[in-house]
């Protein structure tokens, strides 16, 4: 138990610290790397509560794919953070005001928080007990059986995003020669080369 507690505090501390570093690091590439670290320790936290499937998926999807593309873009962009921050002071009061109002609202809502009496019962419905089901099975059951409709709808949303990205950015340039592999493979030696006997001093 002690080891688990230690591991929890380690992962939690690393998550929070690297989260803070993401927004304070001067170099955007460092920010992304700290983001990766944050994802990674969050996966560790998932492992500790026995959600090994979610932990692995978090690493594979977020660390292995999403963050790599992030890093890819950030490395190639020439972001001048100093310039981005110039407006910060000017807008800080308004931002702070909105933030404070939201915070107060949250505190008020939290202080007077009174869940409905049925809430706990409602919350427990979709979750099978951890002891009886493997968590990959439980997630599969939820996503593909109970929430199949939402799963399909989310698929459509992603499809729209893809269509949008292509429709808005893809430009067919005229006059570009493209490689047609089938044509290349179909070429016979006789079509492109000719064996000629060249007489000495004769030339072709």
């Amino acid at each position: 138990m002690i080891i688990q507690a230690l591991a929890f505090y380690l992962f939690a501390a690393v998550t929070v610290l690297s989260g803070a570093m993401v927004i304070t690091a001067r170099n955007p590439v460092h920010s992304v790397l700290f983001l990766v670290l944050a994802f990674f320790s969050a996966a560790g936290l998932f492992l500790l509560i026995g959600a090994e499937f979610v932990a692995m998926i978090l690493v594979i999807v977020y660390v292995g794919a999403v963050a790599v593309l992030f890093l890819f873009v950030v490395m190639m962009l020439d972001i001048d953070f100093a310039e981005l921050r110039t407006g910060l002071l000017r807008y800080a009061p308004i931002g702070a005001l909105v933030g404070i109002v939201l915070l107060i609202e949250l505190v008020v809502a939290l202080v007077s928080w009174k869940g409905a009496s049925e809430a706990t019962a409602n919350l427990a419905v979709p979750t099978p007990p951890a002891s009886t089901t493997q968590n990959a099975v439980a997630i599969g059951e939820l996503i593909y059986t109970h929430y199949a409709y939402l799963f399909q709808a989310a698929g459509l949303v992603l499809l729209v995003a893809m269509i949008g990205a292509i429709a808005l950015t893809l430009r067919q340039r005229p006059g570009v020669r493209r490689q047609k592999i089938a044509n290349q493979n179909a070429v016979q030696p006789a079509d492109v080369a000719e064996v000629r006997k060249v007489a000495s001093r004769g030339g072709i």
Binding site: N27, V29, L33, V36, E52, F53, M56, I57, V59, I60, V63, G64, A65, V68, L69, L71, F72, M75, M76, Q134, A136, Q179
Partner: protein, 337 residues
């Protein structure tokens, strides 16, 4: 005190010993893989290869290691030092930690986790960080280009690797690697899933940046790619990491498709040989394929590489996932249904 000993100290010592028992043979394997590569390539090229240092050149890898270790590590002045040094360590570390879940024989596994396949997949998808960090931190355009190429390449091929793994999982019904091997008692998956086996092997070549997909380090265009600025031990770590990854991918191939530690048939002379030997033989076989490909195929062009990954492998493996799932459902063959 006694409780501390039995509760914590003894298990820790045991685990450390187990880890050493995996890592030491692995590193020896890496060393002799480089030797084997040079000998095999030599044979393919009709030359001899290293044969001077020690009997038949067997000490050559040690000489190489000694040479690298004694050279001066150079850190370029414009580089981002921490990341520059972290990158090779990360690569090497990831190549080692993946072995924690590999079963060498029935029950011979350091951590028999439920989601072993996902763990392996996660670790191999992290491998790209070592390269991309090295490329960026070197502050050199060749290294950077190599890093970018590698990132794009690995992310692209991971997609089809993932789909191949899903196909295998459909046939097994478990993500535990030992279960996957046990499920191949009747027939190795490389036969019923032959197309997926081919896709997996080719994607493994791309994932490990091996020829014909070694564009990240294409020396003719990038003077060596992401690791141009590295020398001495950091370079050696990259080198070790790359070869350890090759062995790892071969191990994965054997577990997913070639029946892991199982003998080809469960009959008398074959099942006398211990499983770990079979496993090693299969890894060696896949490694030989890696080297053979390197010796015989020219390097891909980058757009061809991307085309192969996204336009051919991705739809192809997706269709195979659906076909396999449909087949299993139609003939009621789903495991643990």
């Amino acid at each position: 005190m006694a409780e501390f000993l039995t509760g914590y100290a003894w298990p820790t010592i045991l685990i450390v010993l187990e880890i050493l028992a995996i890592i030491v043979p692995l590193l020896v394997g890496v060393a002799y893989l480089t030797y084997a590569e040079r000998r095999v390539l030599g044979a393919i090229h009709l030359r001899i290869g290293p044969n001077v240092v020690g009997p038949w050149g067997l000490l050559q890898p040690l000489a190489d290691g000694l040479k690298l270790a004694t050279k001066e590590p150079i850190i370029p002045s414009g580089s981002s030092k921490v990341i520059f040094l972290m990158a090779p360590m990360l690569t090497f570390l990831l190549a080692l930690v993946a072995w924690a879940v590999i079963p060498f024989n029935k029950g011979w596994v350091l951590a028999n986790v439920n989601v072993g396949v996902l763990y392996l997949f996660a670790i191999s998808s992290l491998g790209v960080y070592g390269i991309i960090m090295a490329g960026w931190a070197s502050n050199s355009k060749y290294a950077f280009l190599g890093g970018l190429r590698s990132a794009a390449q690995m992310v692209s091929y991971e997609v089809s690797i993932g789909l191949v793994i899903i196909t295998v999982l459909l046939c097994v019904g478990s993500m535990n690697l030992s279960d996957i091997v046990e499920a191949q008692r009747k027939v190795w998956f490389c036969l019923p899933l032959l197309p997926m086996f081919v896709v997996f092997f080719i994607s493994a070549l791309a994932e490990t940046n091996r020829p014909p997909f070694d564009l990240p380090e294409g020396e003719s265009e990038l003077v060596g790619g992401f690791n141009v600025e590295y020398s001495s031990m950091p370079f050696a770590l990259f080198f070790l990491g790359e070869y350890a990854n090759m062995i790892l991918m071969s191990g994965m191939t054997s577990i997913l498709f070639l029946g892991g530690w199982l003998p080809p048939a469960d009959i008398a002379p074959l099942n006398w040989i211990p499983g770990v030997v079979w496993f090693a033989l299969k890894i060696a076989f896949v490694l030989f394929l890696f080297l053979w490909v390197r010796g015989t195929l020219p390097r891909y062009r980058y757009d061809q590489l991307m085309r192969l990954g996204w336009k051919i492998f991705l739809p192809f493996s997706l269709i195979w996932v659906i076909l396999t799932a449909g087949f299993l459902v139609a003939f009621d063959l789903l495991p643990n249904a």
